[in-house]
Symmetry: C2
Subunit: 443 residues, 2 copies
């Protein structure tokens, strides 16, 4: 008899696991339950939908349930797994539109329940006009509210907050970003935050840092954001203060979480329970610089988790060794990319962290229309081991970060970076690549 | 008494060596002789000057002799070293404008005499209207001839030929490129050449491949390019069939060349003769994929050679381990980048070479204005060791090649590439980076 894989949560990791498992072992019966109306979508595209650059939210969907059906994968939307009977090898599914519940058996289970936005513990977060942005439905809701809103406030100046700030400005809205930390993009080091701050204000975003939001107020719908010092009138508020993994269902039947609060998995994405895998934003990875568990809830990691789990479930060989914390974000005309540890995080992790911060350009000094390119390199004193990098540049120039990411995977040093033969031509790089300039200055 | 460094040839490698040596050891007396009218220039920028994108050829100069003088480095232009008396530790210098010759003593010598264009052994190569492109003066000469020329022919479809084809099209000229090999950019594999060919014709360049030029003809000045099959009318002809290292002066006093014909050097850029270094286009490097001597006459390599030699001459520690053959070129709207060995070259070098060739995009499928991104990955059967890559993309997306270059430096495998945590965001990459797509498909 054929084995049965049940996938709980059908976005990036879940549908990658489902599709890969079925492709690798066509005898497998594969069914995925997703409580929202969409499967297999790129939530990272939501800010660009809000900006008006993508005309239909459904374009963010990579594959529809119909397409999955053709591949032999059953994907049911508006179906939520509400209970797992692990001993009985079955899950209880609620059909959110049909109103009925039913039990579904499994041999293998993938938990890919993702993450949810954190709501700050303040009054008014449930007022109409207050949103979070996580699922396609969130995007649709904001989109339909946006045409009636002129004054928008974004609480939180991380990636999502800043990407949406750009989107709202693209729509001609007044935008205020309020951040609790002393600076925007607090995961970055201060040099990077300063450039981002400048870019935001240059593009008409009001930026308020070091300020706690105390409540959201309004009659019938949100009208203002209250801080200790002042009140900001608002027609629409986006809460973007972070996310947490949706581990509730998993822990309810005995799946163990790790130190990050996400589900602990091995290199095959196995949880502590036999025949149960976890993948995507709900699961941990190993950070290859610190060697410790790390939570990196990003779409590309989710896809790799899913692919690895799917391969293993189908009986194949695959492993996911870990991450180095690479990410990139577009903030107006800047591209800001990260890998490894910031200087601050490196110190916190116990490293004797040193750094250089250099300004260079994205092309030869004589080539037209140059853009500045900044590199921060973080490395260990003495050994010169690379710990991380941050770059701020123009468009895909920022992908230079991947060179450092590649070295981080293997414990590379500043000396290794300095020795690299990187591609050069005047339209693409100064004759000394900015990364090499930084490496040459590192002592 | 202070030691004296004489540098023969003051472009990229020579002036890097001179400046670095002086900076590292201010007691050193440093003098550089350059036979052209310019020092320290980026010859790689010449096609963009010809395109009209850089208004003054002097903008290609990084530092003038006056600036070098302020740093304590004497740089004399229009001064050619015509003889080296190695035993006597002196060089004979011809002042090309003053007409006199004089002897100049040295303790340390850097040979950085660069490379020169190959002239095909055919009739007519010295006719007025026939050019090569290597030094700034060549650029100036072509520029002044260009306004009288409408029909241009470029012999040779390597980087230089194709970059100049774009430049001439940008100036509204009729352009025909004639290439002896079966395809354009013959150093690349055929898949890449095909895309480049298409881009050239889309931009109005006439491309003729597999065709030998038999002579250049004309009365008083060039009027046609003759091939075995037909004649191409021409007002201006650029010969871009390759370059050779200028080793004549060096070999005349006993400096040894290596198997590539360029000067053999160790990791400190020392030649076989004590106190004589060679750097830049006249010197070899080690190819880190094959482990064999390799000649990579590019500006970025020249700068690194020079910096290494300068450091060592000043008594410091530095080494240049080698290259992996990275390069990138802009051909109209395409950026074409290379690293390591092409599949063809890998086979010739004796590897059991396998490859994948994939087409992806430079951004998420839903993000506006996507461009195609192609990856060719070459690797060794069995071990999966990476041997090289070629990518064709849009603008600086092509710098993704540097990830493979980084892996090549350390003998990385397809498996290593597959495991990389590369930066992802919808404006910059599909959720599966094109390099990872290629790695996933490699068997």
């Amino acid at each position: 008899m054929s084995k049965r894989l049940v996938v709980i949560g059908g976005v990036a990791a879940g549908m990658s696991a489902a599709a890969k498992a079925k492709r690798s072992n066509p005898d497998l019966e594969v069914v995925a339950f997703e409580k929202s109306r969409y499967v297999s979508y790129g939530a990272c595209g939501l800010p660009y939908y809000l900006a008006g650059w993508i005309d239909d939210v459904e374009k963010l969907v990579a594959r529809t349930p119909e397409k999955f059906a053709k591949q032999g994968v059953k994907a049911l939307v508006r179906h939520e797994v509400v209970e797992v009977d692990y001993e009985g090898r079955r899950v209880k599914v609620a059909d959110l539109d049909g109103g009925r519940e039913f039990w579904e058996p499994f041999d293998y289970l993938v938990v890919s329940t993702g993450a949810r936005p954190v709501l700050p513990p303040i009054e008014g977060v449930h007022l109409p006009g207050v949103f979070t942005l996580r699922q396609l439905e969130d995007g649709e809701a904001i989109m339909s509210a946006l045409h009636r809103a002129q004054r928008t406030v974004i609480v939180g100046a991380g990636y999502v907050g800043l990407e949406v700030a750009e989107a709202f400005r693209a729509r001609g809205k007044q935008v205020t970003v309020v951040e609790l930390a002393e600076r925007v993009l607090p995961a970055a080091d201060p040099e990077v935050s300063a450039l981002v701050h400048e870019e935001l204000t240059r593009n008409g975003v009001q930026v308020v840092t070091g300020t706690e939001v105390e409540s959201l107020t309004g009659l019938g719908r949100v009208q203002a954001v209250q801080t200790s010092a002042f009140e900001i009138p608002a027609d629409l508020v986006l809460l973007a203060v972070g996310i947490r993994p949706n581990v509730g269902l998993a822990t309810s039947f005995g799946v163990a979480t790790g130190p990050t609060g996400a589900i602990a998995v091995d290199e095959q994405l196995r949880t502590n329970l036999e025949n149960v895998w976890a993948a995507g934003d709900v699961a941990e990875s190993v950070h290859l610089v610190t060697g410790r568990p790390y939570w990196l809830p990003l779409g590309d990691v989710a896809n790799k988790h899913g692919r690895t789990a799917g391969t293993v479930i189908a009986g194949g060989l695959a492993s996911f060794k870990g991450v180095v914390g690479s990410a990139v974000t577009k903030i107006f005309d800047l591209a800001v990319a990260f890998t490894g540890l910031s200087e601050e995080d490196a110190r916190k992790a116990g490293f004797d962290a040193k750094s250089v911060w250099i300004k260079s350009a994205d092309r030869a000094h004589y080539y037209p229309d140059p853009h500045p390119f900044h590199v921060k390199l973080v490395y260990e004193g003495g050994s010169g081991r690379l710990l991380g990098a941050q770059v701020v540049g123009h468009q895909s120039d920022a992908l230079r970060i991947d060179v450092v990411a590649t070295l981080l995977h293997r414990g590379g040093t500043v000396e290794d970076l300095r020795a690299l033969d990187l591609a050069y031509a005047p339209p693409f790089s100064p004759v000394w690549d900015p990364l090499l300039v930084a490496a040459n200055q590192a002592r």
